[in-house]
Subunit: 316 residues, 2 copies
């Protein structure tokens, strides 16, 4: 995984004050008693409906997210198992509801090459006014397929500042596998999307403060900071609608066509290599990114039971 | 090797017209008869003196290069063998002397961890007026030491435009070896030099057109394009003297102290891995970078015998 709840891409994160008591009912499969509750809008047909509400982002932003999630789920339909996340993992919030997160997780069918798909949104009201909104989506393959993973993150710091990350994150050292560089990055002309976005005057390269996160990027990674004029966010919405939206959909299309549905021959030794490398990335990212982010936003009483569940799915 | 004669870092390279006859005497150890001569200023004490003249670059630029080369050679003194490059490889030019290159190569002592050090300058007069000047310096380790290589390149397109590349290029996949990321990049605080340079308003990130070259970068790579006001190059000389000079020396110092002189324990399996990875990089870089650059600048009659010699030292 490249980034989950991108603490490392954020400027100094928000401090969250967690109350030790709450009127929300407790719900946990862990032995910990939750003092602050997490609950999803549950219904029999889709337990992750809260995730797909995207209640805090703008119309073009929500439209992009819904299109990406539905494309991913529709194209991979038969390869995905239903969501089994407990409600308290599907949605979390602190006592004052100033910080909320909604998570979505679907494992791949054992016969498929999908390991899991994973999405999240986070809304965090800032003490200085305004809010931080993150929407993320990831597609991870298992060791039967050595193609890259799909990585998408939008981190809206304010109406006029946004960090945008879009990548097919390599699962092999491309220096040792130059044929994979050609197949997944050169032949698919992935770089043209990065180049197109870079022509906008509001777009600047963004460099993660975490050296580890930097090592996970592909050579065509889109990792940019977009800052628009102080117009209340109007220009940012235009950029989301006219640039981030089509580019994200095209890159997701490339991932589905050339990676997720690729017929790759992966020998036993290479499967071992992929398992080791994927495992290292996930464990490290869980530790330095997801764990610290959830603890920061929700405090240990809410975050720990959630992390316990996610860890089972996520780490190796 | 990261970059040699950085064609891939250049904007559309210069086309060089090579005459089929020349008044220069022929000098080649290959069977090819050179129609355009390459000759160095030979003297018994140092056959690479032409290389150290840097006749086409500004005073601060020359001063930086001489300091870097002398630091490298003085610190590694007992570990380096004398230069054995034939004169026609030490210096090349086309018939009209509009394109010249001077090369320097010293292999490491068999008992040392140095594979070789390598430097070059290129001067190419542009058909539109002005000239392109490249100065490069590299330090490569052998498989007894798994530390990064030293990579330095300055590509002056005009008095006011310069591409600057400075890196400790990793020789292992840092995703699989996070301890190396810590040792060589985090603990040495390498990133602060990139950050310091990025604060200058004239400095912008530079992204190589070659995806392969991008895969060779470390997470702290300095790869920037510097464009100054149209003041005849005065501000650029200031930037070279006050910023590129001290940063380059500090990074070379880090490479010498923490990489070249590091006592590393490298097992047999890891040595095999390093040999394979180093070999792949060198062969690929020779093919897509050095070979194409020399052929372009000097044509096959001059370039091929030079390439034949370099290939013996360089590729695996």
């Amino acid at each position: 995984m490249k980034v989950m709840l991108c603490t490392y891409f954020l400027h100094p994160p928000v401090s969250v004050s967690i109350s030790s008591s709450s009127s929300f009912p407790s719900s946990s499969r862990s032995s910990l008693k939750l003092s602050v509750c997490c609950s999803a809008m549950e219904d029999e047909s889709g337990r992750s409906s809260k995730f797909k509400e995207y209640p805090f982002v703008s119309v073009p932003h929500k439209s992009l997210m819904l299109d990406l999630v539905s494309t991913l789920e529709n194209r991979l339909q038969s390869q995905l198992l239903p969501s089994t996340l407990p409600p308290y993992v599907q949605h979390c919030q602190n006592t004052t509801s100033t910080n909320q997160a909604s998570l979505h997780f679907r494992a791949g069918h054992p016969d498929s090459s999908i390991d899991f798909i994973w999405g999240a949104w986070v809304h965090s009201e800032l003490p200085t006014g305004g809010a931080l909104d993150i929407t993320s989506l990831f597609g991870y393959l298992n060791s039967s397929n050595d193609a890259p993973n799909f990585v998408f993150d939008m981190i809206r710091h304010s109406p006029t500042v946004l960090v945008f990350i879009l990548d097919l994150s390599p699962r092999k050292d491309l220096v040792l596998w130059p044929d994979d560089l050609k197949t997944f990055y050169e032949d698919t002309q992935l770089d043209k999307h990065r180049q197109a976005l870079a022509t906008l005057p509001e777009v600047q390269p963004y460099i993660s403060p975490s050296l580890y996160m930097r090592t996970l990027s592909s050579p065509t990674t889109i990792m940019v900071r977009i800052q628009t004029e102080n117009d209340g966010g109007e220009r940012m919405e235009e950029i989301i609608k006219n640039h981030l939206d089509p580019i994200s959909k095209q890159v997701l299309g490339i991932w589905l066509d050339h990676c997720a549905f690729a017929k790759r021959e992966v020998g036993d030794a290479e499967r071992g290599y992929l398992k080791k490398r994927d495992g290292l990335i996930r464990n490290k990212s869980f530790e330095i990114d997801l764990e610290s982010s959830l603890l920061l936003w929700f405090g240990p009483e809410v975050a720990n039971p959630v992390l316990e569940v996610i860890k089972e799915y996520f780490t190796v």
